[in-house]
Structures are given as C-alpha cells and as structure tokens.
C-alpha cells in the first residue's frame, strides 16, 4: 500500500532527490504531471541557436533527465541579442559545449551531452536511443537529414522555424501525419558572387551591389566590413552609380539594404524565437508523458503558423503523402540485422541473401554508410569493426533484386559487442 502510494506520488517519488523535489515543487502540483517521466527522458536538441538555446533552457529547467545538444557552430557576438546561454562565453567557443556548461548551472540535476559536430556525423546510437528530436535548425538540408533519422528510427520530431516576425511549429508523429519529405522543399536561393554573371552589363539591380562589393575587393584584397561606414559608402556609391545608369526607373540602394545584402543573415528577434521555442518545448513535455503511457493533453499534429505582426495563429492539417519516398508505400525497406562487429561485410551479404534478396554474382551489390556527412563505400572483405561501422548504423545497399524486381535496401545493424 505504502509502496504503491509512493510510486504514484510526485512529491515523494524516490527517483528525485529532496533538493529536486523542492526545486520542482510548483510543477509537481500541475494536474496530470509526472516528473519521473521527464527525468527518465532523453531528448536531442539539434541546432543550438535562437530556437535551440531557448528549448534547451526550457527543457533543462523543467527537469528533463538527459539532453543531447548538437551544433557545429561557434559563438558570435551577434548571437547575444537572443541566445541566452552564451552571455558569459567568449566569441569562438563551440555553441554546444557552452550551452551544456550554462545548463549545468541552471539545473545541475540533469545530464547534458554536447556534440560540436554536424548532425550527420553524430553517432547513430544517439539517434536510436533518444525519445524524440527537437529541431532548431536553420536550413532545409539539415531538416531533411534529421527527418530521415526520425522516420527510420520511428521517433517524433518537433520542428520549428522562424522568418522575421513569423514562425512555425510542426510535430512529426511517426505513422500519423506527414513527414518533411511528403512535400520536399528546396533550399532558398541566395544572391552570391558568381563571377560569370557579373561580367559586362548588370542584368539585375542586385548585380550592381555585387559589382560594388567586387570593386571594393579589387582595391583592398578583402571583402568590405559592413560595420564600417566608410567602407559601405564606397560599395554603395559604386553600386548606385550603376543603378542610375542601367536601372533609371528603380530606387537606389539605401545603406541598410546594402548592409543586409552584403552580410547575409536571417533577421531574427528573441520574442519570436521564444514563442516558437516555447511551443516546441510544451509539445515535447506532453510527448514525454505519452511515450511513458501517461495521459496529458494531446500533441497538435497540425502545422502551426504564428504571425507575430498581428498576434494570430493559423493551422494546417498535414496528412501523410502515400507517394512519399521516405515514409510512403514506396519507401526503401529497412531490414534489421543482429551481427557481431567482427563479422565481414561478406557475412552480412549472406544474411541478406537468406532473407530472400538476390544479386548477380558477377556484380556484387554496393554497400554505403549513409549516417555520415559524406557517404562512404564499404569494402566486402573487411570486418564491420575495421571499417568503423557503429551500432545502429544504417547501410544503404544497391544492386539487389527480390521476386525479380530490382530494389535498394536499408540495413540497420545491431552489433553484438564481444
């Protein structure tokens, strides 16, 4: 009777120390809340920038037990208008590392594991063993890499993003709503210094500004510093002379326009980041309950848009696309194979053959390690261990047939460590 009561209790849960019980007292009073569910959860925060730092701060303060922080970037002074965890840090320090250090001060009762790395090179075991992924990424390409892992490991992925005064939150729930590849997005194009387009007469107004930059570079052997007024004046005077000559009907560049185009960064403000990150955090906290079989509200399966200019939300239903190449009926099959790390790839091929796949003995199938920034070709006659193949690694295999049909296959390896 006593034991059962304690098990159900937030206030006397034995997995929490007395200090933790005092720290979390106010949230232990929340209806339906289960602090242990948070303590026992492992969350991946991918991208520790404007959104990621806010999400990490929220989840750490709430008492999520294990938080992985993944980011390739280093801290810049211009991060400090919105990225709270870096206030005490030096420019140039890795974001993931500094974030872990700052979180340890905020809540020392959780584990923070940092990865100063791109998300592709993080050990697949991290992705396989986390409960969910929360993304604070800034590119379509990176989101595509993360959603592949979410779909293939069947993990929820709580995506967020911002653009000026707007933002979105979308929680991918495996087998329930659309993944991010159900309608693939292209990366936004940026105007860059492609020398070939800049020879001769400028064809677009933006080319005038690029030519102004090139002019500066040819005089100074370095790009202009957008924080120095004299340098920007040189660029803009050159550019606007060209605008007047070739685009007389258009307005000349203003100083601020020129700065934003020469030094291209997405405009962001803490308030929008905080709204989006908080929505992501709240969905994450509910999911942590659900994954442990505890009821607490529902996760919104819709795509949520926030317009901060008018303070309004919009909602879009996202049904899965049956034709999706990642999660639809034509998606590449995943076969899970348990195998010792000391086995050769040749042994693996025999296992696959015994599962009904065949191949032309003259042209052996190709094996690729895809959980890396650059896919690696695998050799047949060396062992998995020798080639650095990790537990939960996915190999992509081409050149197989099944029932007379050519197909590609994903093989997920569960390595027996001996």
């Amino acid at each position: 009777m006593n034991a059962k009561n304690i098990k159900k209790s937030n206030f006397f849960d034995e997995t929490l120390s007395k200090d933790e019980r005092i720290r979390f007292d106010r949230q232990l009073r929340l209806p339906g809340w289960n602090q242990k569910a948070l303590k026992d959860s492992t969350v991946l925060i991918v991208g520790v920038g404007g959104l990621g730092t806010e999400i990490a701060k929220n989840l750490a303060m709430a008492g999520v037990g294990t938080i992985h922080l993944i980011d390739l970037d280093i801290i810049e002074y211009s991060n400090l208008n919105r990225q709270i965890l870096f206030s005490d840090a030096d420019e140039g320090e890795p974001k993931a590392k500094v974030a872990a250090r700052a979180l340890m001060k905020i809540n020392p009762y959780s584990k923070y594991i940092w990865h100063h790395s791109n998300l592709e090179d993080v050990d697949p075991e991290v992705y396989a063993t986390a409960d969910m992924y929360v993304s604070g990424l800034d590119s379509v390409t990176a989101r595509n890499e993360l959603i592949r892992r979410a779909v293939q490991f069947k993990k929820p992925m709580i995506d967020g993003g911002t653009a000026t005064y707007y933002g979105h939150v979308y929680t991918y729930l495996p087998d329930e709503n659309a993944c991010l590849q159900c309608d693939p997005q292209q990366e936004r194009e940026r105007e860059t210094l492609a020398a070939c387009t800049l020879v001769g007469i400028p064809r677009k107004k933006s080319h005038c500004l690029l030519k102004g930059q090139l002019y500066f570079e040819s005089k100074n052997n370095r790009p202009p510093d957008t924080t120095i007024l004299e340098e920007m004046n040189l660029v803009i005077n050159y550019a606007n002379n060209l605008v007047k000559e070739h685009f007389p009907s258009e307005k000349v560049f203003s100083l601020d326009e020129a700065v934003k185009m020469v030094d291209q960064h997405d405009p962001t403000i803490i308030s929008i980041n905080a709204v989006i990150a908080s929505l992501q955090s709240q969905e994450a906290l509910k999911l942590m309950h659900h994954l442990k079989g505890i009821e607490l509200g529902t996760v919104n399966p819709e795509y949520v848009i926030y317009n901060g200019l008018v303070g309004k939300f919009f909602y879009i239903e996202k049904p899965p696309n049956k034709k999706c190449m990642l999660c639809g009926r034509n998606a590449t099959i995943i076969e899970e194979v348990k195998i010792p790390a000391t086995a050769t790839v040749d042994v693996l091929l025999t296992i696959i053959k015994n599962r009904g796949y065949s191949y032309d003995p003259e042209f052996l199938p190709s094996f690729w390690i895809i959980d890396k920034k650059d896919p690696v070709d695998v050799e047949m006659d060396s062992t998995l261990k020798e080639q650095g193949i990790r537990n939960h690694e996915t190999l992509y295999i081409t050149g197989l047939t099944k029932k007379g049909e050519e197909l590609d296959l994903n093989v997920r390896l569960i390595l027996n460590q001996s």
Binding site: G136, A163, D266, N307, V310
Partner: protein, 119 residues
C-alpha cells in the same frame, strides 16, 4: 514528381478519360471528373503573413507554373514572392511544379505561408 513512370501513365489515363467524356456528353450528363489541364478556375488565396492577413479570389489556369502564380499573388498581396510558399490541402507547392499537380479545384483555398527556415 516522385516517379517518372507513374507520371507518364497518369497523363495517359487522363487523356483517355477526356475522350470518354466527349462521347458521353453527346448522349448523357457528363460525370464529374477532375478539372482538366489548362482550365480556368476560381481559387481563394489566403495570406497568413504580412501586417494584415486577408483573402482574395483569383481566376487561375490549372496548368500555370507555381512560380508564375506566386509572382501574381505577390503583386496583389504586396508580399515578396521569396517570403512565402503556397500551400494546398497540407501540401507545400514547389516553384517548379504546376498547380494542377496539387489537386487544386474550383473554389479551393490556397494559403500563403511563411518560409520559416531560420533557427
């Protein structure tokens, strides 16, 4: 878009369907089918971004490229075309595709949604 083979067979099917309808029209009421390519339809465009989100009814050709429609819509709403995507029934429309591939029909609503990729 995803599979060339399927797209080709899809086009052929649609052509056949159109022929069948032509013969049917002579004798009986035409069955309701998908809007054929090149037809003009009325679509409600609704913005979620900008300082005053609103809705506008426009007549568009179903075989018009998304990039053309986005340009027109950007002029009407006063929003730069690279700041929004068009979205229909939960699918975000690709610039290089055409409207009809997203199953947009007469009277449907297409949303203008932010390109919120920053972190």
């Amino acid at each position: 878009m995803s599979e060339e083979f399927e797209e080709i067979s899809f086009d052929e099917e649609e052509e056949e369907e159109e022929k069948v309808i032509e013969t049917e029209i002579k004798s009986k009421t035409p069955a309701k089918t998908k809007t054929p390519a090149g037809k003009k339809i009325s679509v409600y465009f609704q913005s979620t971004i900008g300082p005053s989100p609103k809705q506008e009814k426009l007549v568009v050709a179903t075989d018009a490229p998304i990039s053309d429609i986005k340009y027109t819509v950007s002029q009407i709403f006063g929003l730069p075309p690279d700041e929004f995507h068009l979205s229909h029934a939960g699918r975000t429309c690709d610039n290089d595709d055409v409207l009809e591939n997203y199953g947009v029909e007469d009277g449907d609503t297409v949303l203008l949604i932010p390109v919120s990729t920053a972190g």
